[in-house]
């Protein structure tokens, strides 16, 4: 009986602590909390080390992968936005279409981050990575410039553009 009482009190205490903790941080959208463990060693038949020599695993973000981690209602927020996980457009006026894909990576030292890869005519030409964000990103092309968003319903993005020789962050 005493054991049961102690167990009950422990559970009660746990609930109390949990509720106190929950009130110390504001609630945020799923894309700021999203954590996916990268699992693939190749992407588009390329070893992930071709994307970055320090990477161990990576995945492209796509709806199939995301819906393993978020609800269909949450997925709709992305579907109904202008943000894309993959998009194609000629960004440097050379009549070859660039394909932009976003994803997640894990380094050999297990540090995680997000990336944006640019392919031209199916050839990987540039990869940008960001270890300050862990799970989500998407992009929009605006006037030949890529806006790399790390969130939805927000104004936080980095701009990537063709400087005449390569793609760079503004």
């Amino acid at each position: 009986m005493r054991l049961i009482n102690e167990k009950f009190l422990s559970i009660l205490l746990l609930f109390f602590v949990s509720s106190c903790m929950a009130e110390t941080e504001p609630k945020q959208a799923w894309w700021l909390d999203l954590t996916i463990t990268p699992s693939e060693t190749t992407l588009d038949n390329l070893p992930v080390s071709d994307f970055n020599k320090n990477w161990k695993h990576a995945n492209y973000l796509d709806t199939t992968l995301l819906t393993k981690y978020i609800s269909s209602t949450e997925a709709n927020e992305l579907t109904h936005s202008k943000l894309k996980l993959t998009l194609s457009k000629d960004l440097n006026n050379n009549n070859l279409v660039e394909t932009i894909k976003v994803g997640i990576f894990k380094k050999k030292n297990n540090k995680k981050g997000i990336f944006l890869a640019i392919f031209e005519d199916s050839r990987l030409i540039k990869v940008f990575s960001d270890s300050t964000n862990k799970g989500f990103s998407a992009s929009i092309v605006n006037n030949k410039r890529i806006h790399w968003y790390k969130c939805i319903k927000c104004g936080n993005y980095e701009t990537i553009y063709w400087n005449g020789k390569t793609y760079v962050l503004e």
């Binding site: 945020q28 939805i152 319903k153």
Partner: protein, 156 residues
């Protein structure tokens, strides 16, 4: 007079996150969520330090050339065995100096701003929430047509 009394009775929250938490608590039906966060100068410095230490030449091809990028490059040339922490410390100073000159570092840089979802409810409720945010010491920019999706930008 009423406004002054109200301001006295409402202590300014400790930071932008506490302000958002206060509003979320006071208006639970508005289902307000933080949708975007800024990046602190320290985190920006750390990211740039990681990038340049991983591959200096790649770093130089990653960023548009500006004075602060040149300073960072020179630091690594002069200090080839600098640790991530030493590089981050130096880059933090360089970024602060660059910001002082008005240079653009990153659209992400701000630890005093948040984006939030547009509060659910009527225009009257939204106006009430906007007034409350202002009362707590922040400003609101409504961005219903933002490319990244409709939201409110809150500046602390």
């Amino acid at each position: 007079m009423t406004d002054n009394t109200s301001a006295v009775q409402t202590p300014r929250p400790a930071n932008i996150d506490q302000l958002i938490l206060t509003v979320q608590t006071e208006f639970p039906d508005a289902t307000i969520l933080i949708t975007g966060r800024g990046r602190t100068i320290r985190r920006q410095a750390e990211l740039m330090a990681e990038r340049i230490l991983a591959d200096r030449l790649e770093f130089l091809q990653t960023y548009t050339w500006r004075q602060h990028i040149g300073q960072m490059n020179q630091f690594i040339i002069n200090n080839p065995s600098a640790s991530v922490e030493e590089t981050t410390n130096r880059f933090e100073t360089i970024i602060n100096q660059a910001r002082g000159r008005g240079a653009q570092i990153s659209n992400h840089l701000s630890d005093t701003a948040r984006d939030i979802s547009i509060p659910a409810g009527t225009d009257t409720i939204r106006n009430t929430i906007e007034n409350r945010i202002q009362e707590l010491g922040a400003s609101v920019i409504r961005e219903p047509r933002a490319a990244g999706g409709p939201h409110w930008h809150i500046d602390w």
